[in-house]
């Protein structure tokens, strides 16, 4: 389903002849991409190698000093670790819950399409709205669920307790992603031929065993694909959730890499350091996308 990546393999035999028209047709997109994509990306890379003095009067080329400074800063290292923990927790919790639901919805049930409709709509809820909904539900002084937690003896206060704040972010972010994962799992399950299940059933495998030995391995390309998508989601799309719920706090307990770029940038000042942070994020995304592309090629031969 994904667009073919290597266009040279296929070419139209039948084409139009024109010298200028094709340039006119690509010009708008090319202009927008160059101005709003390549130019800022190049700026970030260049700036990450420069150091500006306190008054912004002179700049000097400092090689990798900005990067080294960044890694010497404990808060940056902590943000990296935190981002990976968040990503892993969000991906695993959202994927497993969505898989459970998809396996259930894959059975020939009455009302199957209704279930799908009722489960996929959170995809359309924007991250800041997700944040608002969840903080309202679990707000220490007015949240409805917080009331029950306190009644059960939990000292619940995510506005002061960093671990609880992190848990809140993970839950809210995983909640939003359930719908997306569910949809792709369901499609993956429906692509498995029924005959495979029947063969396993004839061999006498119980349903649970059938799931782990037959369905799960056949689903592994989908799982891997979704794992990467979920990590990218946790890296970037959680910004809105964090910003409306905790603003990276308490302390820096919920500050992810993207949030740190944003909040350091708001403070102004260190341009080079901020640019270096952006460049590191770019490298991470490029790596993740690369992994995903490799996987897609495998899916084609699979």
């Amino acid at each position: 389903m994904r667009p073919a990546i290597f266009p040279d393999l296929m070419q139209k035999q039948s084409i139009f002849q024109s010298k200028l028209l094709p340039y006119a047709l690509v010009a708008p997109q090319l202009a927008i991409v160059l101005i709003f994509f390549y130019w800022p990306a190049a700026q970030a890379v260049i700036q990450s190698f420069l150091l500006q003095d306190a008054f912004g009067l002179s700049t000097s080329f400092v090689w990798f000093d900005n990067y080294l400074d960044l890694f010497k800063e404990p808060t940056y290292f902590e943000a990296i670790v935190r981002t990976f923990i968040f990503s892993f927790a969000i991906a695993v919790s959202s994927l497993s819950f969505a898989l459970l639901l998809a396996v259930m919805a894959d059975k020939p049930l009455r009302g199957g399409t209704l279930y799908r409709t009722l489960l996929i709509w959170p995809y359309a809820v924007a991250p800041p709205v997700v944040g608002v909904l969840w903080i309202f539900m679990l707000h220490p002084s007015l949240g409805v669920l917080a009331r029950y937690l306190r009644a059960m003896g939990v000292d619940w206060n995510p506005l002061l307790n960093g671990d609880q704040a992190a848990l809140l972010i993970i839950l809210a972010a995983a909640w939003k992603q359930i719908s997306y994962n569910f949809l792709f799992f369901l499609a993956g399950l429906q692509a498995i031929p029924k005959s495979v299940h029947e063969a396993a059933a004839i061999d006498g495998a119980r349903p649970m065993r059938r799931f782990w030995t037959v369905t799960f391995p056949l689903l592994s390309p989908t799982i891997f694909f979704l794992l990467v998508v979920n990590i990218v989601y946790a890296f970037f799309d959680t910004f809105g959730i964090i910003d409306t719920m905790t603003r990276g706090g308490p302390g820096k307990a919920t500050e992810t890499l993207v949030y740190k770029v944003y909040s350091d940038g708001l403070l102004g000042g260190n341009l080079g350091g901020s640019a270096a942070q952006s460049v590191i994020l770019m490298v991470i995304v490029i790596l993740l996308t690369g992994i995903q592309f490799r996987f897609v090629e495998r899916k084609v031969t699979y």
């Binding site: 084409i15 709003f36 639901l101 259930m104 009722l118 995809y123 409306t244 952006s278």
Partner: protein, 282 residues
């Protein structure tokens, strides 16, 4: 065996309904809260059943806004969001379909380098280059404008790749036939290719509209004037003040209004939505 199958089905229904309840509960709570009195909510005494302030809250939300200093009617924010998301969706489809047309149906010097330049933009979301992009938009005097809100978000290759992929599957005979009819590149595009692309365009539009409507970080950075706020940014500003002053019924009504258009699109145009989601997934 048959009885066990029936039992398993029963379990499946129960698990699915639990899933639906978990997914829907936060939204139910928002609906309930938007119809209640702020004082009861602020005291932590909120009821789990709808209250009687529905009309009052939604009237205030849509036409007046919060009572705080940054009051701005939410209807105006929704209008900003609508304009931005339509510009992103339509703009992206328009520039992508013509550049894909050029790349597939013409041979010209630098065709492949141009394709790669566009293709590589798949790699980076706007989040990683926000401040340099901000600076360019500021230099171009596009802060607090619809162009500034939408243009940087149009710069991505997904749609181009999708159209390119689709054009490759269009049989060559169609071009031969319309050429025999004397059609040039414009007529062929307009009369043959565009009608064939209708479903793809619709699916793409659905996805791009949702993504555009839900943009947050970028609008947050480049809008400073209250009357240019999108609804996603506006809702955040409503809870900026200390908790005691937050008007939760209005906030919850705004949250519901913010999710209404995209959720409506997903539910009503489910087929197109699923198709668009699967095809644009990069």
């Amino acid at each position: 065996m048959v009885e066990e199958e029936g039992f398993r089905r029963y379990i499946a229904h129960i698990i699915l309904w639990i899933g639906i309840a978990i997914v829907a509960f936060p939204v139910y709570l928002a609906i309930v809260a938007s119809t209640q009195d702020n004082a009861a909510i602020a005291n932590g005494q909120m009821s789990l059943l709808p209250g009687g302030h529905f009309l009052e809250t939604y009237y205030q939300t849509l036409f007046v806004g919060t009572s705080g200093s940054t009051r701005e009617p939410v209807l105006n924010m929704m209008l900003n969001s609508l304009i931005m998301s339509l510009m992103i969706a339509i703009g992206k489809i328009a520039i992508s379909i013509i550049s894909a047309y050029a790349i597939v149906y013409f041979r010209f010097p630098f065709r492949m380098p141009i394709f790669w330049i566009i293709f590589l933009t798949l790699m980076l979301p706007v989040e990683v280059r926000i401040y340099p992009t901000y600076k360019i938009v500021a230099d171009l005097h596009m802060l607090d404008s619809y162009a500034g809100l939408s243009l940087p978000l149009i710069a991505s290759a997904t749609a181009t790749l999708l159209f390119r992929q689709f054009f490759m599957t269009v049989p060559d005979e169609l071009l031969e036939a319309s050429r025999i009819d004397g059609a040039g590149p414009f007529r062929f595009f307009w009369d043959t290719l565009l009608p064939l692309s209708r479903t793809n365009m619709a699916a793409l539009f659905v996805i791009l509209f949702i993504l555009g409507w839900n943009q947050y970080l970028w609008p947050l950075l480049i809008t400073t004037r209250d009357d240019m706020q999108t609804i996603q940014v506006g809702i955040r500003k409503m809870i900026t003040t200390t908790d005691a002053l937050t008007e939760w019924p209005v906030v919850m009504a705004t949250a519901l209004l913010a999710m209404l258009p995209p959720v409506f699109v997903v539910v009503v145009m489910q087929k197109l939505f699923v198709r668009g989601l699967v095809e644009t997934e990069k």
